[in-house]
């Protein structure tokens, strides 16, 4: 696991170990094999597991590339016969089939207006097709929190912050939760939805989360404390 190594695109990663002839190397996000070298394709911090057989780069960007099973927040932009076209911030809009909702059948289809915000799960994502999302867990058939978001505020953030917020132990969420009740839905496409009892509180929570990106846990708690006192 060694020391933190920052890489930029084009850097060659040294992946040699003692039995380099025997090992199978797994290259995770941000790495690519070119001839005999392993090169980084994104800027970020290089991580490896303790046996040095898996390598990946943790990077922070704002443009989302869909990946399967990730939760995302999307806005419905069009409705076709079979489903909705949803903007999830990726290069291509995602397709949300009309039947991809809990309890949806041919006779009982949802009727969502254009401009509706939905919380969904990426079902299909590859470089060849448009991504597809679903508003339920297709294995259990239950909504599990996915679906239409009827009120509240959504804001955009970097992908790195969204990923950190997915961890329920994220310090800013914990500090806020101790002070005000709120609901949050995090989309790994860099969008976060908040809902509280009053607009002023929602704005406070949203700004606290946005400000927390580069703060450590202690600074987060301090920032939240100051914001709540000012209120």
């Amino acid at each position: 696991m060694g020391d933190t190594k920052i890489v930029i695109p084009g850097d060659i990663i040294d992946t040699h170990t003692e039995d380099s002839d025997q090992t199978i190397l797994r290259l995770g996000p941000g790495l690519i094999q070119t001839n005999d070298d392993t090169r980084a394709t994104t800027a970020g911090v290089l991580h490896s597991d303790k046996d040095n057989t898996q390598y990946w780069v943790v990077s922070n960007k704002r443009r989302y590339v869909p990946a399967e099973s990730e939760p995302v927040l999307g806005v419905i932009v069009a409705r076709h016969g079979e489903g909705y076209r949803v903007d999830i911030g990726s290069a291509h809009d995602a397709l949300l089939p009309l039947l991809a909702f809990e309890g949806a059948t041919k006779r009982n289809k949802p009727n969502l207006a254009l401009g509706t915000l939905v919380y969904a799960r990426v079902a299909v994502a590859n470089s060849l097709m448009d991504p597809e999302i679903e508003c339920f867990n297709s294995k259990t058939g239950k909504a599990e929190g996915y679906g239409e978001m009827a009120e509240g505020l959504m804001f955009k953030c970097s992908l790195g912050l969204a990923r950190r917020l997915m961890d329920s132990r994220a310090p800013v969420l914990g500090a806020l939760g101790a002070g005000v009740p709120f609901e949050v839905a995090v989309g790994l496409n860099g969008r976060v939805w908040i809902n509280t009892a009053s607009p002023a509180t929602t704005v406070l929570v949203a700004n606290a989360i946005k400000n927390s990106e580069f703060l450590n846990a202690k600074q987060c708690r301090q920032m939240v404390k100051e914001l709540l006192e000012k209120q």
Partner: protein, 281 residues
């Protein structure tokens, strides 16, 4: 190719609901500007303005051309703008040199503001009447669209113009000698005053809720927008209202009052930035 879809329904509803309780989404006051940062140089005529999330870069250049036939003793000032998907993911990259409608609208507005306010002395740009004049070109590059491109673009343009230096010219009879900047120090343009734009957005079905310096979300949810252009001498140079719901005279009055104070602050920031860069030279 992604079309501008605008915000989701709940975001627009939230902005209005919050504004009715005097709360703005980014926590500002109704008449508060976002943080303004102006930087000039290193090249003369290069200025970058950051207004919150919005970033604009202005670059001024000049060349010798023939004057316009109906104004043989005046130089020309031209504006162009580039608003590509660098600024926002839902904007099209201008394909094949074709300029988008939004780009034309913005460069026309900035041009109108600077021209109608007669900030630049175009007669001072004349070299030989009817034969040679300076054409000054201002290129605006929008690096980030966080709302209120107008104020940021106008500030960037005027800072860049004041920062710019053109080659010195000596006219002897019918001949003009244009001095190389390495031989003779280039000279500043003749600028009478510094116009500053202050923009408001009006939200709600009848445009009853006013905010200063709208963010992107507020701009997308607005029913009307209104820009006051004025200078440090408290002269109103231009008023711009393009489309949208009608506004009452009281609203216009209130906006111009607020704009007077804000324009002073922006002018101070511009002067400080220009002074700072000239002392570094």
């Amino acid at each position: 190719m992604v079309v501008d879809i605008g915000p989701s329904n709940i975001e627009t509803a939230f902005v209005l609901e919050a504004l009715r309780k005097n709360v703005r989404v980014d926590g500002r006051g109704i008449y508060d500007y976002r943080t303004l940062r102006i930087s000039c140089g290193p090249t003369p005529g290069l200025a970058e303005v950051q207004l919150g999330q919005t970033r604009v870069l202005a670059r001024v250049s000049c060349e010798v051309t023939r004057p316009s036939p109906d104004r043989p003793t005046e130089g020309l000032v031209q504006f162009s703008s580039e608003l590509s998907n660098l600024a926002a993911p839902n904007l099209d990259a201008s394909s094949g040199g074709r300029v988008s409608a939004q780009e034309v609208a913005i460069s026309r507005m900035v041009e109108r503001v600077i021209r109608q306010s007669r900030a630049i002395d175009t007669e001072a740009l004349c070299i030989l009447a009817g034969v040679k004049v300076w054409t000054v070109r201002v290129d605006l590059h929008f690096l980030d669209h966080g709302g209120n491109l107008m104020d940021a673009a106008a500030a960037a343009a005027i800072v860049a113009l004041r920062h710019f230096r053109r080659p010195d010219v000596t006219v002897q009879g019918e001949e003009a000698i244009i001095h190389d900047p390495r031989e003779r120090n280039p000279v500043p343009l003749s600028i009478h005053h510094t116009p500053v734009c202050v923009s408001f957005a009006f939200l709600g079905a009848l445009g009853e809720l006013a905010v200063l310096d709208p963010s992107l979300l507020e701009e997308q949810a607005q029913a009307a927008s209104f820009t006051v252009t004025l200078n440090a001498h408290k002269e109103i140079c231009a008023l711009n209202k393009a489309g949208g719901v009608p506004l009452s005279p009281e609203q216009i009055q209130r906006c111009t009052q607020v704009a007077l104070t804000k324009a002073d602050e922006i002018s101070d920031a511009i002067n400080a930035a220009l002074k700072g860069s000239s002392s570094n030279k």
